[in-house]
C-alpha cells in the first residue's frame, strides 16, 4: 500500500487527455469516445507509434503499464488494432485505437514494440489470429500460438469452424433454438428425466430415479397430473405448460426468505441459536401474512385477478384457509380451473376455444 494513490488527485480527465493529445499529435487524433466507462481515442495510422510514445512519456499522462494490444474485425473496413494502457500513478486508463491500412487483404499497422516491450507477443498474436503485419516488429514468424503450417487466420470473421459445419451441436438444444418470442427454450429438468437423447442418459435417469424416489405429497405435480389424467381430453403436456412464471416467482421468494433465515442463523454462531430460531419464526409469520396479503390482492378483480391467472378462486381461497402453502393452493386451483374449463367446453361443443389458457 505504498504511494499508489499519491497523485490520483492530479489525474487528467478524459477531455483534458484528449486536448493534450490533440496538442501533441495534431490531426493524428481522429476523435474520441466514452462508453461503458472506457475512454477510447481513435488515432490516425501515421501517428500510431508516436501516440503510444507520447502516452508513456508525457509526464501528465504517464501511462506506464502496458495492458494489452489486440485487433478486432471491422467487417468491410478491414481490421482495428487497439492498445489498452494504464497509469499506475494516476489510475487512468486509455484505449488507443486505429484502423489498419490495406483493408482486409493486407492489413498493416506500425509496431509499438520499441515503446512497450509487452507489445512484442501481443503483436505476434494479432498477426497469428488476424494476419495483420506490424512493420518494425523484430520478427512475427514463427507463428506464436497455432501450428506453424496453419492456414488462415482464425479470428477473422470469414474463417469458419469446419467442425461446426461437419457436425451438429452435440448438446440437447442448439443455442440458436428459440421460440417465436426469441426466448431460449428451457425445460425444467426433474429427477427421472433423461438429460439427453442417448441410451446412456436414459440409463442414468433410470438409476437416478431408483436412487432418489420421487417425494410424494408436497410436490402436488403428481396429483395434478392424476387429476388431469382423469380428464380424457387434456393433452399430456398441458400441465407443464401451465406451470406459470408467477408461481415460480412466489416459490423463489419463499425459498429466499427461508434461506435468509438460515443465513441469519449462520451468522449467529455464539450460542444465541434461540434468538435465531425466534427470528426465523417471526419471519415465517411475516411470510404467512405476506401470503395472505398476496392472496387478497389476487382476489381483487381490479388488479388482474383470477381470470387472467387462470385459477379457480374458490378452490384457492378454500385451500389457503386450510393453511396450505400458496404454491400448492395455486397449483390445485389451476387444475380445478382447467377441469372446469374443459367441462364448459364440452358442454358448448363446437364453440371457440377459451383464449385464456394461453395467457
Amino acid at each position: 500500500m505504498s504511494g499508489v494513490l499519491a497523485r490520483r488527485d492530479r489525474a487528467l480527465t478524459p477531455e483534458e487527455t484528449e486536448e493534450l493529445l490533440r496538442d501533441r499529435l495534431g490531426d493524428g487524433v481522429r476523435n474520441s469516445l466514452q462508453e461503458f466507462g472506457i475512454f477510447t481515442v481513435w488515432i490516425a495510422q501515421d501517428s500510431w507509434s508516436e501516440a503510444a510514445r507520447r502516452c508513456r512519456d508525457e509526464p501528465l499522462l504517464a501511462y506506464d503499464m502496458f495492458d494489452h494490444l489486440t485487433a478486432v474485425d471491422a467487417r468491410e473496413h478491414g481490421f482495428d488494432v487497439l492498445v489498452v494502457l494504464y497509469s499506475t500513478s494516476t489510475g487512468n486508463r486509455i484505449v488507443l485505437r486505429t484502423r489498419c491500412e490495406g483493408g482486409r487483404e493486407a492489413p498493416t499497422c506500425p509496431s509499438i514494440t520499441e515503446t512497450y516491450r509487452g507489445a512484442n507477443w501481443m503483436e505476434r498474436e494479432a498477426y497469428d489470429m488476424f494476419g495483420i503485419d506490424f512493420p518494425g516488429h523484430p520478427s512475427l514468424e514463427p507463428r506464436l500460438l497455432t501450428v506453424e503450417n496453419f492456414e488462415g487466420y482464425p479470428l477473422r470473421k470469414d474463417f469458419h469452424l469446419t467442425s461446426r459445419a461437419a457436425k451438429p451441436w452435440p448438446g440437447v438444444a442448439e443455442p440458436k433454438e428459440l421460440d417465436e418470442e426469441g426466448n431460449v427454450i428451457e425445460k425444467e429438468a426433474r429427477i427421472g428425466d433423461a438429460p439427453g437423447p442417448y441410451e446412456l442418459d436414459k440409463a442414468m435417469a433410470e438409476q437416478a430415479k431408483l436412487a432418489n424416489p420421487l417425494p410424494e405429497p408436497e410436490t402436488v405435480e403428481g396429483e395434478i397430473a392424476e387429476e388431469l389424467a382423469e380428464d380424457a381430453q387434456v393433452a399430456p403436456d398441458s400441465g407443464e405448460v401451465l406451470a406459470g412464471t408467477g408461481e415460480q416467482a412466489a416459490e423463489t421468494l419463499e425459498k429466499q426468505a427461508t434461506e435468509q433465515a438460515a443465513a441469519d442463523a449462520d451468522a449467529e454462531t455464539q450460542g444465541s441459536a434461540q434468538a435465531a430460531r425466534a427470528k426465523a419464526e417471526q419471519r415465517r409469520q411475516e411470510q404467512v401474512a405476506a401470503r395472505a396479503r398476496k392472496a387478497a390482492e389476487r382476489a381483487d378483480p381490479g388488479s388482474g385477478g383470477a381470470a387472467a391467472d387462470g385459477i379457480d378462486q374458490e378452490t384457492f381461497d378454500r385451500l389457503i384457509a386450510e393453511g396450505k402453502s400458496e404454491r400448492i393452493a395455486r397449483s390445485k386451483a389451476k387444475a380445478a380451473y382447467i377441469k372446469r374449463q374443459r367441462a364448459e367446453q364440452r358442454a358448448a361443443e363446437g364453440e371457440d376455444d377459451g383464449g385464456e389458457q394461453d395467457a
Binding site: 506506464d64 434461506e259 451468522a267
Partner: protein
Amino acid sequence: MSDLDTKERIQPGTAPGEDVAFEIHGDGDFPTADMSLSIGPAHPATHGVFRIVLEMDGERVREARPVIGYMHRGFEKLAEYRDYRQIKALVNRHDWLSGFSNELGVALAVEKMMEMEVPDRAQWIRMLIAEWNRILNHLMFIGSYAIELGAITPMFYAFREREDIQHLLESATGGRLHFTYNQPGGLKIDLPKGFLRESQRLSTVVRERLPDYFDLVLGNEIFQGRTKGIGPLPSDVALSIGVTGPTLQATGVAEDPRVTEPYLKYGEIDVPVPVGENGDSFDRFSCLLRRIQASLDIIDQVHDHVPPGPVNSKLPKMVKAPEGATYVRTENPLGQLGYWLESDGGRTPWRLKMRTPSFSNVQAIPYLMEGVLLPDAISILGSVFFVVGDIDR
C-alpha cells in the same frame, strides 16, 4: 569431442526447422560450442506443456526463447460462437486453477454493458468465493514450485488444504475446479445452509496451518539459497511488459485492481497488498505466500458483511449486450485478467479478447533468464507463476 559428435548429440533437442548454428567460444584446450537446449513441451521442470529453448554457453543461458501454443484451444474464436450464458463454462477453463475468477470477469463485463443491478448478497458471495479460489490457486503453486526446486513434501501439505477448500466450494457450486457459479446478474443459486459457518471454520484452520508453509518452504535454507537474488525484475521493465499479480507486486509496485479500481465490494473493506523489494524469485514466492494471508483477511471481513437477500436479479429473456465495447479487469490469482468485450448487439460477443496474466508474465522470462546459470533458470521459470492454458488460451 569432434564437431560431428556435438552435432549429433545436440540435434535431437532442437525443434524441426530450427537452425543449428555453432559458434566456437574460448580458445586453447577448452573451446566451447553454443548448445541449443530444448526443455519441454513435456518436461517435469515446466509445469504443464510449456516449452523453452535455451541457447547455452556452457552452463550459462545466453538466450531464452519460450515457445508457446501447445495448449492453444481457440477460446476467443469459440466464444464468438456461444451466447453469453454459455461463455462462462468456456472461460473458466483457460486458467484452470482459478475458474471462479475467470467467469467473474465475463459476468462483470456483461453486467457493465447491460447496466444490470447485482444484488448485494451476490456481490459479497462472489468476493468470498473468489478469495477462496485465490487461495486454492496459490496453494497449488506452493506445491509445484517446491517440486521444481526438488522438494516433494509441500505438495502433499498443499493438497491437504486444497481438498478441504474444494469440498467447501463444491457444496455451494457443485464443482471442484470449474465452478460455473456466476451468471450475468448474480449467482446461479444461493449458498447452502451452514456455508458461512463452515467457511469461517476453514479460514481459521488454514490460517493455523499457514505457518507450516512459511517454515517449511520460505524458511528453508536450501530454498533461500536457490531463490534469493535470482532473476531480479525492475519495476519499470515489469510495467512495460505488462507483468501483473504477485510477479509485479514483488517488484515493489502495489498495483492491484481490488485496491486501485475496486470492483464488487472491495472498496468497502481493507484489502492488504503484500509487496516485495527487489523482485527476485524469493520475493515473488513470498508475495504469493503472503497473498494467501491477505485473502484470509479478506474472507474474514466478508463473513461479517454478507447480507440476506436475493442472489440474482431477474434476467431479461435474452442476454444481449448492447452495441459497443468495454473493458473489465479483475485481479485474478496470477495477475490481472482483462476482458475486452465488443458487442454488435447480438446474442454472442463480436469479440472477446482475454488479456490473461500468464501471457504477459511469461514475456518477462527472456529478460529474466539472460545470463543466468541453468539451475537458476528453473528457479526463475517456476517463480514467474503461470498456467499454460492461461498463456495459450
